[in-house]
Symmetry: C2
Subunit: 705 residues, 2 copies
Amino acid sequence: MHGLNALFNPEKVAVIGASRSPKKIGNAILHNLIRSRFPGKIIPVNPREEEIAGIKCYPSMTEVPFPVDLGIIVVPEKAVLSVAEDCGKAGCKALIVITAGFKETGSEGLRRERDLVSICRKYNMRMLGPNCVGLMDTHTPLNASFARGFPKEGNISFISQSGAMVLSILDWSFDLDLGFSRFISLGNKADLNEIDFIQSCIEDPYTRAIICYLEDVTDGKRFLEICSEAGRKKPIIVFKAGTSSAGARAASSHTGALAGSNRAYDTAFRQCGIMRAAEMNELFELAVAFAHQPLPQSERVAIITNAGGPAIIATDAVERYGLTISRFEKETIEKLRQNLPPESNFYNPVDVLGDAPEERYRLALETVFSDPNVDNVLVLLCPTAVTEPEETARTLLKIKEKYAEKTLFAVYMGGRTLEAGKKILTGSGIPTFSYPEPAARAVRGMVHFVRHVESSRRQETPVDPGPLDRGAVEEILEQAAADRRLVLLGHECSAVAQAYGIPVSPIILAESAEEAGEISEQIGFPVVLKISSPRISHKSDVGGVAVGLQNRSQVERTFQSMVDRVRRLLPEVPIYGVEVQKMVDSGTEVIIGMSRDVQFGPLIVFGLGGIYVNLLEDVSFRFASRLNTREAIEEMISETKAHTILRGYRGKKKGDIPALIDAVARVARLALDFEEITEMDLNPVRVFPRGLSALDIKITINREK
Amino acid sequence: MHGLNALFNPEKVAVIGASRSPKKIGNAILHNLIRSRFPGKIIPVNPREEEIAGIKCYPSMTEVPFPVDLGIIVVPEKAVLSVAEDCGKAGCKALIVITAGFKETGSEGLRRERDLVSICRKYNMRMLGPNCVGLMDTHTPLNASFARGFPKEGNISFISQSGAMVLSILDWSFDLDLGFSRFISLGNKADLNEIDFIQSCIEDPYTRAIICYLEDVTDGKRFLEICSEAGRKKPIIVFKAGTSSAGARAASSHTGALAGSNRAYDTAFRQCGIMRAAEMNELFELAVAFAHQPLPQSERVAIITNAGGPAIIATDAVERYGLTISRFEKETIEKLRQNLPPESNFYNPVDVLGDAPEERYRLALETVFSDPNVDNVLVLLCPTAVTEPEETARTLLKIKEKYAEKTLFAVYMGGRTLEAGKKILTGSGIPTFSYPEPAARAVRGMVHFVRHVESSRRQETPVDPGPLDRGAVEEILEQAAADRRLVLLGHECSAVAQAYGIPVSPIILAESAEEAGEISEQIGFPVVLKISSPRISHKSDVGGVAVGLQNRSQVERTFQSMVDRVRRLLPEVPIYGVEVQKMVDSGTEVIIGMSRDVQFGPLIVFGLGGIYVNLLEDVSFRFASRLNTREAIEEMISETKAHTILRGYRGKKKGDIPALIDAVARVARLALDFEEITEMDLNPVRVFPRGLSALDIKITINREK
């Protein structure tokens, strides 16, 4: 990681393309470096200048007489490759390529970008960009960007695939008095990408929360691997743009990014414990909370308010986000009753009334914080004639200091009257909102992170599918490939599933009554007979289905009468024979499926099965690569309504969940072992009180192995 | 409505309890009246003063020598009744009672409130309050409240059940430079309530949009009646607090409001075309849009941006909210290509690039607005080194003037750098946001309103259930009431449904083989026989079910063998006989149900039926009172997945939707006709290609008629 260190903590930084002209980006970067009080050496490089801003200027990197750690390249795109080469020779460990005109412009640019990466590899340099705004680290301090201004020192790191978003968020940060640790503009991600920077921010001691604006993920499999570790260490909040099909078009036309499907990203983020912001503003709500507040001990919230309406809104939000309203101890209620006016509400939410001055908030907060059932407090304030927003703000800060392990969120519901009070709060790390909902959402986000960390620490049982017959599957897939088929035949699907220990209910075609009788004896009674014809879809309408056949002679007789009847009714239809299937008990029908995502690999689906799968959409998703414990699979199953049915719904018999976990694990294993399988559908899988059986299986393969 | 006119447009206003002391509310109100430049006469009333603020003061209302239109009462609660009496005598047409200490304080307060209403009735006065902040009308102008400040003149009316929310929103309005027509603080709603004020704001020529903060609705049935008309005339946006069970508790403890269930409110608002804000901030997003922008001609949106990331976010939001990205005409694209730099994006979203000055926005917006496929435009701006936020803002305003029929929304993504530009835009009626999502949401809200208005204009077919046998139902309900039963018996349910023309599949108990044979011949073959016993739940497990019986002798034989078999297997179980039911074709199983809401009356439910109703929750709701056309019922049905199945899903046969509409209408009629029916469940109702049949019906009644 020496390259990343050179990016954030260089000793000597060269600006190649530094300029005297205030209109040039090369000028902005140089002055940003100077103004940020970067403690190392700054080297402007420009063949036409002797000095810029009072600093000696070199004509080229090769003429700098000492090794340089970091080269920031702002020369025109045609000159970038040779400058990068020079940087390599000058011993640079890292580059920031600000210059645009690469992959995003078309095939020539793409070639240039590839050459640039080759040069980096050759000299063992890591690179940020090209086509980026640069980066900032407030703790070094270092402003290696052309953004206007430098953020306040703080604990949030922002990683952005959009340069504009860096500028916007920086601009907001001044309004909100929000501190940042790092700003990273990813640009084209030709070398370093979001995974590298997430990893680096996890290691950065100054970063407490990571927020990302992403349009795609460069390497889905590595993302899952690295970020599932990272997501347990620090809160990561991602806004993923390009969720819509139209949005994906905009993404690819703009950055040349290949946008994966929205569902795949959702699943990947979840499996990594990454919180996904639904809207831009949620990025901040959560970041601010994590940056300064302790992690909540529980989901129990107390509310203090000077007005009833806002308290109702806050209570609604607390419930909507799965938090709970604390029940106070008797002593708490008693103490509130002694100290507050008699018309106050002493229960949670505590109403200190519209005429509450600072003092009443102090009394209420002190009392509520000292209650052992309270771990998070929302303080709501509406501007009335006697409100003291600033004094109250200072009081909140002072009391909060005494309760380091509890969280405090302020909701100042108003505009100009409350401005100064809001500034006092946010400037000192109390997340302050204009409405109650985002405050509750922030607590929910924090609780969610705590639970993820906890769950990742629990003991888990790795899935062990035992010995599998890989060879049998290979053989079938090879045969299909040889036949240039993209879909496996029914009996092939059965055989593949059986090779991986997935219980199936095989369907065997009998061409004569005798054969049907024989097959029945082999598979065991009772059996079902169904007429086999490509032209008959509603078999029971023509008497083409017989269930519950108990012995050989019954099977043989039924075969004959069924074939005769159908021939008589539909003389022109070809009949292949009769399908014999062991009769399957009734049970809950579920689906286990797999669809291979281009970014993240095989995506496993589980849910209610049958013909209404797509209509009811009672499904949950996981990537196979991280679906490696029984607990993880159980969690996946438990997210569906199918799970409610399997647990015994309305007097229905329970389903065998351990067997189901096993089957899901085997499907995941199969998908991981055979990359040529692109899709699988086991639907329905019937789950019995003991065991299960896949009644219908479809497997799609890819011709190129 | 003379009373309401006296509230908003009085000629003479008395402040009873006017005070010299700047700390008193009676002082604040007097000065608010004066400062608001109220053009009529102001009369302070206070027995201890000769004059206040240079205006002659009267000792009591009875001594005012001329008639007064509006009395504002701020005396202590004990004095309110006699003062109100005096106001009545002085000829007041309306009162605003600011004083608190009524219903919200307990039973004594409630009694006082009732007496206050009686006095109003006696003198034919209308009353706002008690326990409120007062009201404001910027067009009169009149500030009859104790809020700090007076809003800018504008087109939004705000009706609030929370006084604090009035103060908060007023405070925000100054920040946002947002104009209002009226502010109304409802207080306890002892006389006038939200319905009266919604009606009044619909008639107010200055009001273009109505926003409400509500904790409950006073008269649900009248609300449905009045607001379903109102919702077609002007956009009404409601934030309803108290959605959670915990929130409902907070509501009732605070204002004594009886909170109806969240679903009932949701349904009522929808049926009235009222938009429900999910979060507080949505109230403003929509209000601002409606106040100044024209109603959109379509849902087609164009986006102009100076950065790619925000364009993707905007495109995602446009799609998420069901809007569409306009496809430009060839000429538009050509014109953009001629006028913008070659690296720009000329398709929608139009990217004018990060270095775009005001001029480029002008060119782009002119061109895009002139495209006939564009009805709404979002302009996104990120703060880069060369952005001209203020010049651009002025340009947007200028161009917008030329396209009065198209909407324009600005998204200025940044803080202090863009502040001045934002002010220019919002001050002139261009809704300006900090993120793209709320802009798209605002367009969606407007499109939604336009569609509601359109749909309410279309020709509808009233439902006509034809002659119904009310007498039969009355008899059954009387019998049940006489028996002190709360649940109707199975055959009673069947009879009720049949009396209202709802097709049922009757179940008839046969106690002997002969009887079973006779019944079968009456109802027609094939029939199903089921053993009837209160102790056997899985009838088929004991051979207690026989299907497809084709003739009388088969029925009689089966009766005997079934009873014998079950007696043998379960000798200790009582057997009532055998239930005979005509065999019902397979079909889609749906539920039609009714639950009587205390506020809004009978709530009809439709959805996927069977045992998984509550699990799958594929249901839609409507109040019976407004479910009076075939189109309304069809719309209700079409919101469910059951509808997809009924339309013929995956080769399944279609269901008879006209028959279903008819059945829903009859259930609604039954619920409206018989108030003592509190709940009904027709589940499953099996819908066939022709006709339908209710297989199981449950009806719960109320003992008091």
